[in-house]
């Protein structure tokens, strides 16, 4: 597909293909994203967040294709997609997190103030809980499907379309039951948890396949919320609930589901979110088919460049590594980390800054035995 809003898309595809294979071409993979020099920043902000949207209009703002798609297109056209960033629109806003919980029956609320979605639990009793299966008639699934169809038809031949944040089976189950109650259930009702998680995992897979299949009617590629290009099946894995539990419980309850996901989808990247998730790193590194790990240090924690030891551990564990960093951290990260398998995503204040980062990156990289352009 020839990509609009990006002249160097072919070279970027080559670099990303190399990244997925743990290789490097002329420089480590970097996405440097910024508002275009001629972008109206206020418009871009309003295209991204529900600013000043009254509570009774939020649902329509998030879900009406007639409003969502023009905003999406405005956003795609207003951004400088530098390096290995590809123009991609996400019709289900980043605010609609863990939407699979809604697909499986949770009442779902959109909170404008915090630009987030919230599920209310529905499992009151393990004996009488609903079955968790793909439901093609679910209201929220139909909303997302409509948005994906509208976006993909509009984007066809020009830019990519990303699927919703489906989140991961473990967190979805936590949303279905309630975080606190699930934490107790790991001790009080372990077998019921395992049975439910297996169902949710299968349902997750059906929804993932359906999202991808919907987009593929018009647009190729496998884009999920991280915004990483892949021409082969690819998805994120998540289990934020794991921050509450021991490595032993993680291994017993959640690792089998994650392993299953890595067997279904060729390329997987695990969202390792925050210091409390690090205790599960060894278990994750033991998954032979897990492709990559994304490290998020979390708000309030030291910046990503202060986590070099951890990041080297991930690379030494044989996984690709994806990081978000500030433009000012790119040099340090490139100097300290192995270039093979490293993908940095940095959001710059201006197009010029993004271009400067990309121009300097080859000189900053740790080992430069490849031929510079």
């Amino acid at each position: 597909m020839e990509v609009c809003y990006k002249d160097d898309w072919e070279k970027a595809e080559e670099r990303m293909t190399a990244w997925w294979h743990g290789e490097v071409l002329d420089r480590p993979a970097i996405q440097a994203i910024a508002p275009r020099a001629d972008a109206d920043r206020d418009e871009l902000l309003h295209a991204t967040y529900p600013i000043d949207i009254p509570p009774d209009d939020l649902f329509d703002w998030f879900t009406n294709p007639g409003r969502v798609i023009p905003r999406l297109e405005k956003r795609v056209a207003s951004i400088y997609w530098g390096g290995e960033a590809f123009p991609v629109g996400f019709p289900t806003s980043t605010g609609m997190v863990a939407i699979t919980s809604a697909f499986l029956g949770c009442p779902y609320r959109l909170i404008g103030e915090s630009n987030t979605g919230w599920s209310d639990p529905i499992i009151e009793d393990w004996e009488t809980r609903p079955k968790f299966v793909f439901d093609p008639h679910n209201e929220w699934w139909l909303i997302c499907k409509r948005l994906l169809e509208a976006a993909a038809q509009r984007a066809a031949g020009r830019y990519y379309v990303g699927i919703p944040d489906l989140n991961g089976p473990g967190q979805i189950l936590a949303n279905l039951r309630g975080m606190e109650r699930l934490a107790l259930d790991l001790i009080d009702h372990p077998e019921a948890v395992k049975v439910a998680l297996a169902e949710v995992t299968k349902a997750w897979h059906r929804y993932w396949q359906s999202c991808v299949g919907t987009v593929h009617q018009w647009v190729e590629g496998y884009f999920f919320w991280i915004g990483i290009w892949s021409d082969q099946p690819a998805t994120d894995l998540q289990c934020d609930f794991s921050c509450l539990i021991s490595p032993q419980m993680f291994g017993e309850f959640f690792l089998p589901s994650l392993r299953q996901q890595t067997e279904w989808v060729e390329r997987t990247i695990y969202h390792l979110d925050g210091p409390d998730a690090v205790r599960h790193l060894d278990a994750l590194l033991s998954l032979p088919k897990l492709t990559a790990i994304q490290w998020i240090q979390g708000a309030g924690a030291p910046p990503v460049s202060k986590w070099i030891r951890l990041l080297r551990r991930i690379q030494a564990g044989g996984k690709l590594l994806q990081l978000y960093c500030s433009p000012g951290e790119v040099e340090t990260l490139l100097a300290e980390l192995e270039p093979e398998g490293l993908l940095l995503i940095t959001h710059c204040n201006a197009e010029e800054e993004a271009k400067e980062v990309l121009a300097k990156a080859p000189r900053w990289a740790k080992r430069r035995q490849w031929v510079a352009p």
Partner: protein, 211 residues
């Protein structure tokens, strides 16, 4: 006496709620005072839970079953405490700020504070500043805790402190704040009295504010 109190603490630590209730009854039958059962049995057990939670040896599920065991013991003890001069460690109001629906961190803090003998009033989640103000006016707490788990809801921490100031109530209560994106610097900047890094630290912080 020590043996049965240690047994209460141990069973509480292990999350054995029925055993704790039974042992509390046995202790009372042996003329152990309710105050001693509370401080050297139940609170002592929760203090160990808090210590090991902070040290990363216990995790949330284990803390929850210990808190449940504490409740089981307190259900036996509470009617008797009302007839004694045992006072709570302090009165504590807690809530998650407006726009934020995360509750597990707040709930863990509440449980640890109850486990330490504080009387707690939980305002829930998505709590606007005016509700915190009303709660301080009504309950006259010694301490107030606020939780914000999202960077987008952090401004509500300051908004609430400002609302207390405007209502002339700021000086009547000590305020501690916490939540994943909250830092000690942020707590100082917004005028809070203290920052609690996590539920395990909250009790220590609370006790120091009460001194």
């Amino acid at each position: 006496m020590e043996d049965i109190l240690q047994a209460i603490a141990k069973r509480l630590y292990e999350g054995k709620d029925h055993d704790v209730a039974t042992l509390v009854q046995q202790a009372l039958a042996q003329d152990v005072s309710p105050a001693d059962v509370l401080s050297s049995g139940l609170i002592a057990g929760m203090d160990e839970v808090g210590k090991d939670f902070k040290a990363g040896e216990l995790f949330v599920p284990e803390v929850l079953i210990a808190a449940r065991a504490m409740h089981a013991g307190m259900n036996v003890l509470r009617p008797l405490l009302a007839n004694t001069e045992v006072r709570s460690a302090g009165r504590f109001v807690i809530g998650t700020v407006k726009g934020d629906l995360h509750d597990i961190g707040k709930n863990l803090v509440r449980m640890m504070m109850e486990g330490a003998g504080f009387e707690t009033i939980d305002l829930g989640v998505d709590v606007p500043p005016e509700t915190f103000v009303a709660a301080v006016r009504e309950h006259k707490p010694d301490l107030m805790g606020m939780s914000a788990l999202l960077t987008t809801t952090m401004p509500k921490l300051k908004a609430t402190i400002d609302a207390l100031e405007e209502a002339g109530l700021r000086d009547t209560v000590r305020i501690m704040v916490g939540g994943a994106p909250v830092t000690p610097e942020c707590a100082k900047e917004i005028g809070a009295d203290a920052f609690a890094e996590d539920a395990a630290s909250a009790v220590e912080v609370a006790r120091s504010l009460m001194d």
